[in-house]
């Protein structure tokens, strides 16, 4: 189990958090114009890198707020956490 830093509450145990997958996936700007192929990309296709990954987490058993994190999927180490309105930090 590892400590995860909530941007609002500080470090808390992993069990308090809910995982939300890849971050910065924007809802289509003009959904009515999307082809089936583009809908498939939006709904089902996410990055799956071995290494640095920007992803969403929720502090489900704490402040219940969503935030973003940059984490290494090979070591599981969190490299940065940041609020949803903040840009992805350079690592």
């Amino acid at each position: 189990m590892q400590l995860i830093e909530c941007p609002w509450c500080g470090p808390r145990e992993e069990v308090e958090f809910h995982y939300g997958g890849q971050a910065h996936v924007a809802y289509p700007a003009d959904p009515a114009t999307l082809t089936d192929e583009e809908w498939a990309r939006y709904l089902f296709f996410r990055d799956n890198p071995k290494g640095t990954f920007a992803e969403r987490w929720q502090h489900a058993a704490g402040c219940r707020r969503w935030f973003n994190a940059v984490r290494d999927t090979a070591t599981y180490r969190f490299q940065a956490v940041y609020r949803p309105d903040e840009p992805r930090p350079e690592i």
Partner: protein, 406 residues
Amino acid sequence: MTHAGIPELPAALWRNPEPKRSYDVVIVGAGGHGLATAHYLAKNHGITNVAVLERGWLAGGNMARNTTIIRSNYLWDESAAIYEHALRLWEGLEDDLGMPILFDQRGVLNLAHSLQDVREGVRRVEANVLNGVDAQWLTPDEVREVCPIVNTSPDLRYPVLGATYQPRAGIAKHDYVAWGFARRADAAGVDLIQDCEVTGFTTDGDRVTGVSTSRGDIAAGKVALCAAGHTSVLADQLGLRLPLQSHPLQALVSELLEPVHPTVVMSNAVHVYVSQAHKGELVMGAGVDSYNGYGQRGAFHIIERQMAAAVELFPVFARAHLLRTWGGIVDVSPDASPIVGLTPYAGLYLNCGWGTGGFKATPGVGWCMAHTIAHDEPHPHNAPFTLERFTTGALIDEHGAAAVAH
């Protein structure tokens, strides 16, 4: 027979050749799927100028780490067809491989803990029977007859309200299965090459013409990806994006115990599944860790939850000692079904997305992959499992029958 009924194997199982510079078919990944594909390429199609490339040691990935549960009680027609094809092959596999694999059809129970579980289970039993898959619905008393150590008291937090039961399901000895396929493929002339990591591809337009590896470039008429959790890492090299997420999945074993557990018990709702290995360890699995990961280890709190569920369902395990835990990396697709078949690249074939449940498919998928490669066209059993289904919407939603939370 030697140790506790584990049969002895021949001293040497396969050659360790240097890679040639060119093959008709290169298979990436020497797990069960890659090895079974090589075996059936040789046996069913006479294609033997084949290499299986493995970055680590043969069958050291998920094949070495899984809990070996074999069953075919999936919901949809497409899944029932491919898993039942596999189960029929399992039933004749010792003869085919000429080696013991300790395939033991001791039956599998999938427990129901809520009214919704019961309805889903009964529906699945009906669907299985229509597909010629053996399946029964058991009441709690009948569950106790099949597996007397399951706690069927109504006082549990998640009481056992019944179970689906597949009597022909069971377990096998995973290493022997891999080595059996490896030995047969090797004898047919297939080169099994360990310590050879595929790092990229050579292409000519939209045709794949070979692979780059840690031991040099190797040309190939056809390339098949059987790399389980690392498939999207490989496909990224071609700019081919796949609807897969890789997650750690853990399992663990207890110390050796007298035979106490006659069958396989799975519970989707409380996230544990248990069988007793041939030597006597209790083998237990859990759900996947929620986050993406490639570290081949998982989080401790998953084990804690899994143990809590196990001890509640099997009070007799309360004093058993945990011996060791490990993790594998499984590639999960959005509909919990595999992706097997052709790709936008000519000469490149995909076999991935088996998630937490691909061991049971090993002979069946090897058979279908070999057909797909040999004929450049899917076998009827893998034809529905295309990459295109995520665009057409013809999904094969098996989250309910996958039996592990993911």
